[in-house]
C-alpha cells in the first residue's frame, strides 16, 4: 500500500490542470438538454478531442492516451475542479465505447469510435420500453432480419439524450419466437433513419432530457449489430457493469459538491436552526471521501489485474444516496430561499445550482437500474442469498 502519487502521476495532474485552465469555457454552457446548449457541449467534446483529452483511458489509436484507471481518476479530479462542462456524450464514451472495444469488430471500431470521441456523433441509450423497465428482459421491440438488414418496429422510452442525439444503442428482439433474455441483439441505430420518430419527454426540471423513440419499419444495416445475433443480453450486462462500475459517476463530482457544501455551511451555519445540519455536513464530506477511497481501492485492484464484481452495485447505491443527501443538506442551509430557480433575481451565488442539482439527484436512485434492483443484486450475487 502506497497512497502517494508517483512523480509521473503528479506531472500528469499538472498537465491536465494546465490544459483545462487554458481551455475550459469562461462562461457556463447552457444545459445540454436545450438545442443551443447541446451544440455548445458538442463543441466542447470536439475541443477535448482535439487535445486528446476526450477519453484518456482509450488507446492512442482512438484518440486516447492509454491512461490507467488511477490516471483517469486524477483526470476526473482536475476536470471537476476546473468546473468543466458535463459530458454530453457520456452514453457513448463511458458506456458504448468500452463495449465496442470489447465486442466490436475492427471495422465497427473504426467506424464508430473516432466519431464518438470527436463529438461528431452523440449517443443516446435505448434500453427501456413501456413494459420493460427494471425488467429489461421483457423487451418486445423487434428487429427482424431481412438479408443484410434489420427491420425495426416498436417503441423505446426513457432514452437519455435521444432528443438531439445522432445515434442510439440498445437491445432489440431479433428472434420473434424467443422470450426473456434469449433472442435479444445489441444494435446501433441512426436516429435520422426513415421511420424513426422521437418524442421528447420533459424531465423534472422542465427540459427534454429523455425521449420516447418510435420505430416504424426502420431499416438498419447488419453492420450495426454489435456482437452476435441473439447475444445482446450478455453484452448489455457488460455495458450495465460499466455504468454501475467506475466510469459513470467519478468520485470527484461528489467531492467537489461536498466541498461546496462545506463552504456554504461555513457561510450559513450561524443562521441555521436545523439541529441535524452539522451531522449532515460531516457525513456528506466523509461519504464523498469514502466513495473516493473505495474507487481508488477498486482501481488499484483492477490495475493489478483484478476484476470488478457485484460490489459495483454498492457504488450505485452509495453515490446516488450521497448525491441526494448533499443536495438536501444544501437546501436546508438555504432555507426558504432554496426554492428560487436558476437565473432568478436572487441567484447571486450558486443558489440555483443547488436546486438544479437537487432535482437531478432525484434520478440517481432510479436510472441505471433502480437501487432496489441493485440491492437484489448485492443480496444474491455478492452475499449469496437465495433467489427463490
Amino acid at each position: 500500500m502506497d497512497l502517494l502519487y508517483t512523480p509521473s502521476q503528479t506531472q500528469f495532474r499538472e498537465e491536465v490542470r494546465a490544459w483545462l485552465g487554458a481551455h475550459v469555457p469562461a462562461h457556463k454552457l447552457q444545459s445540454f438538454d436545450t438545442p443551443e446548449g447541446f451544440e455548445q457541449h458538442r463543441q466542447w467534446e470536439k475541443t477535448l478531442a482535439a487535445g486528446n483529452w476526450g477519453m484518456v483511458t482509450w488507446p492512442k489509436e482512438f484518440g486516447g492516451r492509454a491512461c490507467d484507471l488511477i490516471e483517469w481518476l486524477i483526470f476526473e479530479e482536475e476536470y471537476y475542479r476546473a468546473g468543466a462542462p458535463l459530458r454530453v456524450n457520456q452514453n457513448g464514451i463511458f458506456l458504448l465505447g468500452p463495449t465496442l472495444m470489447e465486442y466490436g469488430t475492427e471495422a465497427q471500431k473504426a467506424r464508430f469510435i473516432s466519431a464518438m470521441a470527436s463529438g461528431e456523433e452523440i449517443w443516446a441509450q435505448a434500453w427501456s420500453e413501456p413494459n420493460a423497465g427494471s425488467d429489461m428482459a421483457a423487451i418486445r421491440c423487434r428487429a427482424d432480419r431481412e438479408g443484410n438488414e434489420f427491420v425495426i418496429n416498436g417503441q423505446k422510452i426513457w432514452s437519455t439524450r435521444a432528443v438531439y442525439a445522432d445515434y442510439a444503442f440498445g437491445l432489440f428482439r431479433t428472434d420473434p419466437d424467443s422470450s426473456r433474455h434469449h433472442g435479444l441483439s445489441f444494435i446501433l441505430v441512426p436516429l435520422d433513419a426513415p421511420g424513426v420518430t422521437v418524442r421528447p419527454i420533459d424531465q423534472l426540471n422542465g427540459l427534454p432530457g429523455f425521449a420516447e423513440i418510435f420505430f416504424d419499419n426502420v431499416r438498419v444495416s447488419d453492420f450495426n449489430l454489435l456482437g452476435g445475433e441473439g447475444e445482446g443480453w450478455n453484452i448489455a450486462m457488460a455495458t450495465a457493469g460499466f455504468e454501475r462500475g467506475l466510469m459513470l459517476r467519478s468520485p470527484a463530482r461528489f467531492q467537489q459538491a461536498s466541498k461546496r457544501l462545506v463552504e456554504l455551511y461555513r457561510q450559513r451555519r450561524n443562521d441555521i436552526l436545523d439541529l441535524s445540519i452539522e451531522d449532515s455536513v460531516v457525513r456528506c464530506y466523509m461519504d464523498a471521501e469514502a466513495y473516493a477511497l473505495s474507487t481508488y481501492q477498486t482501481a488499484s485492484r483492477l490495475v493489478a489485474g483484478g476484476k470488478i464484481g457485484a460490489e459495483s452495485s454498492c457504488n450505485k447505491i452509495f453515490w446516488s444516496e450521497l448525491d441526494i443527501r448533499i443536495h438536501e443538506t444544501a437546501l436546508s442551509l438555504l432555507g426558504a430561499r432554496a426554492e428560487v430557480e436558476p437565473d432568478g433575481e436572487m441567484d447571486t451565488s450558486d443558489l440555483g445550482a443547488w436546486l438544479d442539482g437537487f432535482l437531478f439527484a432525484q434520478s440517481g436512485p432510479i436510472y441505471a437500474g433502480t437501487n432496489e434492483i441493485q440491492r437484489n443484486i448485492i443480496a444474491e450475487r455478492m452475499l449469496g442469498m437465495p433467489r427463490k
Binding site: 497512497l3 477511497l293 481501492q297
Partner: protein
C-alpha cells in the same frame, strides 16, 4: 499510488483467520464467560506462537518491526472472530506507546526490556486512555500505562486497585482503576506525555475501527446463513426482498467503511501527526456500519435474534461496546467538524491523498 494489500499481508490475514475460526468458537467464548478471569490461556498461547504480539515490536527488541498497515487486517480478523482477548489494544496501543518511549529516549532500558517480554508474550502491558472510563482486562496485565494530566505512568498491577464493572458484552471484563500517581512510575510528562496520549487515542480508535469492520462482516455472514436456511411460507425467508435489502444495506455500509479504515492505517503509519481526520472517519464509519449490521442482523434472525441462546449476541454486543470505545461516533464526527471549519483545511479530491501526507513523508525520507 497503490491501494492494495500485498500477497503476504493477505496470506497472513487468511492464516490467522483460519486458526481463529477453529480455536475461537462460540462455545469457547461462552466458556470464557463462566471463568473467573474471562480469558482462554490456550488461545493466548496460540496467538503468541503465531507472533501476533511481536508484530509491532521493533526488531531491536526482538519483534518483527511491522507497521499499522501490516497489522490492520489482523485486527479486522480478530473482530470477525469476536476474539475476547485484548491483543489488538495491547499490540497497537501499549506496544505503540512503549516503542515511542524508546525512540524518544525515555527510560530506554526498562521499556526496551518490557517490549522484549511483550514480544514473546512473557509480559502483558495494557494502556488506559482518559477517553474510556474503564479498562478492559486490566486485571490480566502485568503493567498498565496510565495517564495523569499530561503525565504518562507505567505502573505494575500490584500498585493498582481494580474494581470489576459488568459490561453488556460478557466477553469484556471492565475494570475501574484507582491508583496514586508518583514520580517513581512516571515515564513521560509535558508535551511528550500529551503527544503519547494523542497517538494512543488514534491507535486505539484505529484498532477498534478494524475490529468493528470484522464484527460487521461476521454478522452479515451469520444473517445470510440463517435467512438462507430458515423457512416460512414454504421457502427460505432470505428469498424475501425485505430481508435481502436489510442485508444489502449492511453490505454497502461495510463496503465503504473498509477503505476508510485502511486509509487510516496507512496515515497512522506514514503521517501520524496528520492522522486525526483519517482515524476519526474510520472509527465513525466502522462504528455506524457495525451498529447497522447488529440491528439488521437481529431483525433478520427474528425471535431467535432476541435470545440468549443465539450466538449472534456475541458479535452484536461487542459491536455496541466497541462503537463507543475509543471515542464514540459523536466524538469522532466532532473532530472532523472542527477540521472542516478550519479556514486552511485542504478540502477537495486533489487532497484525499498526496498533500495530506507528502510533507511528512518527505521529511521522514530525509
Amino acid at each position: 499510488m497503490d491501494f492494495t494489500f500485498t500477497e503476504d499481508q493477505l496470506a497472513f490475514r487468511d492464516s490467522i483467520r483460519s486458526v481463529l475460526e477453529k480455536e475461537v468458537t462460540p462455545a469457547s467464548i461462552r466458556a470464557r464467560w463462566q471463568s473467573d478471569h474471562g480469558e482462554d490461556s490456550a488461545a493466548l498461547n496460540m496467538l503468541n506462537e503465531l507472533g501476533v504480539m511481536a508484530l509491532l515490536v521493533p526488531e531491536a527488541q526482538g519483534g518483527l518491526g511491522m507497521d499499522w498497515v501490516d497489522f490492520i487486517l489482523l485486527a479486522e480478523t480478530c473482530g470477525y472472530a469476536a476474539l475476547p482477548e485484548t491483543v489488538v489494544d495491547d499490540a497497537m496501543v501499549a506496544t505503540g506507546m512503549l516503542t515511542d518511549l524508546v525512540s524518544l529516549g525515555q527510560h530506554v532500558d526498562q521499556v526496551s526490556a518490557l517490549l522484549a517480554s511483550m514480544a514473546t508474550g512473557a509480559k502483558r502491558v495494557g494502556c488506559a486512555h482518559i477517553i474510556n472510563p474503564y479498562s478492559n482486562f486490566a486485571h490480566r496485565k502485568d503493567w498498565m500505562l496510565l495517564s495523569n494530566g499530561n503525565d504518562v505512568h507505567l505502573v505494575p498491577r500490584s500498585d493498582l486497585t481494580l474494581s470489576a464493572v459488568n459490561s453488556v458484552d460478557k466477553s469484556r471484563r471492565l475494570q475501574k482503576i484507582d491508583w496514586t500517581p508518583s514520580r517513581r512510575t512516571r515515564v513521560a510528562d509535558g508535551e511528550i506525555g500529551a503527544g503519547l496520549q494523542r497517538a494512543a487515542l488514534n491507535r486505539g480508535a484505529l484498532g477498534t475501527a478494524a475490529q468493528l469492520l470484522g464484527l460487521a462482516q461476521a454478522m452479515i455472514r451469520q444473517s445470510v446463513d440463517y435467512t438462507s436456511t430458515r423457512e416460512q411460507f414454504g421457502r427460505a425467508i432470505g428469498t424475501n426482498q425485505a430481508v435481502k435489502h436489510l442485508l444489502a444495506d449492511c453490505a454497502v455500509s461495510v463496503e465503504f467503511a473498509g477503505p476508510a479504515v485502511y486509509r487510516a492505517a496507512y496515515t497512522v503509519s506514514v503521517a501520524p501527526q496528520r492522522a486525526d481526520w483519517a482515524v476519526s472517519h474510520a472509527k465513525a464509519a466502522a462504528g455506524a456500519a457495525a451498529e447497522l449490521c447488529a440491528r439488521n442482523a437481529i431483525q433478520s434472525h427474528g425471535a431467535m435474534g432476541y435470545t440468549w441462546e443465539c450466538d449472534l449476541q456475541i458479535w452484536a454486543k461487542r459491536a455496541w461496546a466497541l462503537s463507543k470505545d475509543w471515542g464514540d461516533g459523536g466524538f469522532h464526527k466532532n473532530r472532523i467538524h472542527e477540521w472542516l471549519l478550519q479556514p486552511n483545511a485542504l478540502l477537495g479530491p486533489e487532497f484525499t491523498f498526496g498533500k495530506r501526507y507528502i510533507e511528512i513523508a518527505e521529511s521522514a525520507a530525509a
